[in-house]
Symmetry: C2
Subunit: 368 residues, 2 copies
């Protein structure tokens, strides 16, 4: 579909580089253009699985909470116990509304005792956080800082990032980060990224230097076989990674989006949605995200521009959000949200595809 650029839709600091690298397909993510492909999805997948890929994920914006009450405010906005979190650490957290419905699944970075970043998926949590913080009376400033992640993903990402920033990055644990710089470009290096192939995100802290950072990474990565890419639709299904807002219906709670183990309604500290989430924890979630083996041997992804029904006979038992051909499993696989009462590994269902129903079998996530 032809998208007309406009000043309502922002450009990433890496925009010129992604155009020069031959970006062919886009999405809009947090009101920013985000590359989706450079014209050869299979080559992009192979680079991610076997070598290293660089992704403009600047659309993953930061909501910064800064001030004397930053800890209390970050806790109030997160449905996960933050009391043991230390500086330099990141947590995968669910942000929920007062009814316990999930609004976002950011990685929360603790930069200091009075400064946190929610590194958000596609939903304007800046508005949510600003309203909640101001009304609650927290002594904090809530803002969107000039921070734009560049993801370096794949098995050779660590060698590349160590070459650029030093061997100390090798000792970073998952979601831990360090504030550093490259050619005086201020960067937070975090072991994170929306794949399970290992890697880092470089949180560029100066939007005027995106092209410079891109070029530096591309040059250093050459010997590792680096190339441009984007969050990979096939790999993320194989790995069972949630696409917030795509996979889940808007009324989902975090127990229904693979995040149950990160939700702590039993803690003493108050947070938004706590009472509602305690009830879900006690009763069990009505739906869960599952994997699906689709009995269709054609080796392509299904276009699924909207979630479609999952059936058992005439009864809708869930929603299907993605179907791809797994290059590694050599099978057609999908993700969906299914009623807990129906879920059982090997359970047979039917899914609604572009050409009507196909039979499918429920399985656990991740696939690989």
């Amino acid at each position: 579909m032809e998208l007309i650029p406009s000043s309502r839709i922002r450009r990433s600091p890496y925009f010129d580089s992604t155009i020069a690298a031959g970006c062919t397909a886009w999405t809009v993510y947090n009101k920013m253009l985000m590359p989706l492909s450079y014209g050869d999805l299979k080559a992009e997948y192979d680079r991610l699985i076997n070598a290293v890929a660089m992704w403009d994920v600047a659309g993953e914006r930061q909501v910064q909470i800064q001030g004397a009450d930053a800890f209390a405010c970050a806790q109030y906005l997160s449905s996960r116990d933050l009391s043991k979190m230390v500086e330099g650490q990141g947590y995968y957290v669910a942000m929920c509304d007062h009814d316990g419905r999930i609004l976002n699944d950011p990685v929360l970075l603790k930069l200091s005792g009075n400064r946190y970043w929610f590194s958000i998926a596609d939903n304007d949590m800046l508005l949510w956080a600003k309203a909640a913080a101001a009304e609650k009376g927290f002594d904090v400033a809530v803002s969107e800082p000039d921070v734009s992640p560049l993801a370096i993903q794949g098995p050779k990402a660590e060698d590349l990032v160590a070459e650029l920033f030093g061997d100390h990055v090798r000792s970073l644990r998952y979601f831990w980060f360090t504030e550093t710089s490259l050619d005086d470009i201020p960067i937070v290096v975090c072991r994170s990224g929306w794949s399970k192939q290992g890697g880092f995100e470089l949180f560029l802290q100066d939007g005027t230097r995106g092209v410079e950072l891109w070029n530096r990474v591309a040059a250093a990565g050459e010997k590792y076989g680096i190339g441009p890419g984007a969050p990979n639709h096939v790999e993320r299904i194989e790995s069972g990674l949630l696409s917030y807002g795509g996979d889940n219906t808007p009324d989902s709670n975090p127990y229904e989006t693979l995040m149950g183990r990160y939700v702590t309604p039993h803690i003493e500290a108050d947070f938004i949605g706590k009472t509602a989430l305690a009830k879900v924890a006690a009763a069990g979630p009505e739906r869960q995200m599952v994997g699906l083996f689709i009995h269709d041997e054609t080796a392509d992804a299904w276009p699924l521009p909207q979630r479609t029904p999952i059936w058992q006979g005439d009864r809708q038992v869930g929603t299907l959000s993605a179907v791809v051909w797994s290059h590694r499993l050599e099978k057609k696989i999908g993700m969906g949200q299914v009623l807990s009462t129906v879920i059982g590994t090997g359970e047979a269902v039917e899914v609604e595809g572009p050409d009507g129903r196909s039979s499918a079998t429920i399985t656990t996530l991740p696939f690989i």
Copy 2:
């Protein structure tokens, strides 16, 4: 640019109709695909100016405030005095943050004493309203109802809408509305729309019946010369209509976005941003939206995918957000935000276009 559809980006109830009508260009508005053109912008402009056009503006979502405290909550979220608003009336209001910065410029509809709709521009005010209402403790439910506007705009819109709904719609004043139906499709008919050519918005209240409504309007409109269109970039500049988020910088207050006369910081009732807005009202806004005559005689619009600087010599005095060729004025015109100290009709500036600087002259809005 090639946009890849995804379940994160919603489809309007009119989607299939817009595809059938030959939509060629899209934007993403409130996370929904919104048509921008059907391939002939000049014909679409002419229909809007001389006849009647129908626009899928379902991306203009509603934030519904319902409950015992609906009035207090709607007032708290609006920087305009709502005390004299009556049922069936709409108000153009600025929603601001606690620092008086504008977050959205919706039309607020009062459906009843305990039910309001904010008919929003492109920004997720549902999150803002939900957080503020819950934290403030208002007895309201905040939701996004199943409501999707179809705009009927142009000098023949009234005849068409009267033919469909009855002559009583002719007596509706600007922004007033009536709850009615068409072939049992529940619809709110409002005299509104993002043009100055006159017309209505049909707020469809059943998303399963979009195609039916579209077809009914298209058939009845045939004799008036109706055709598909979209919010028109040329007409809206000629008419001086704000594109929230496109024309203004994120730190603007409503006095800087043509909304000063709708802001009432002197009222007794409390609303978000009131103290900050009282200060701006006393001191006067630093910047204002202006029109610009661009001294460039080529008859095309400038691609301006981002706001660009307005200069006086080496000093940046504002930001330019749109430049089009006015078919009616036969002049190149633009809109921008300029420092109040610089503004004066006839004042000379330079604007940054795709091929460098052009000289321009400041004027008042609207142009026509």
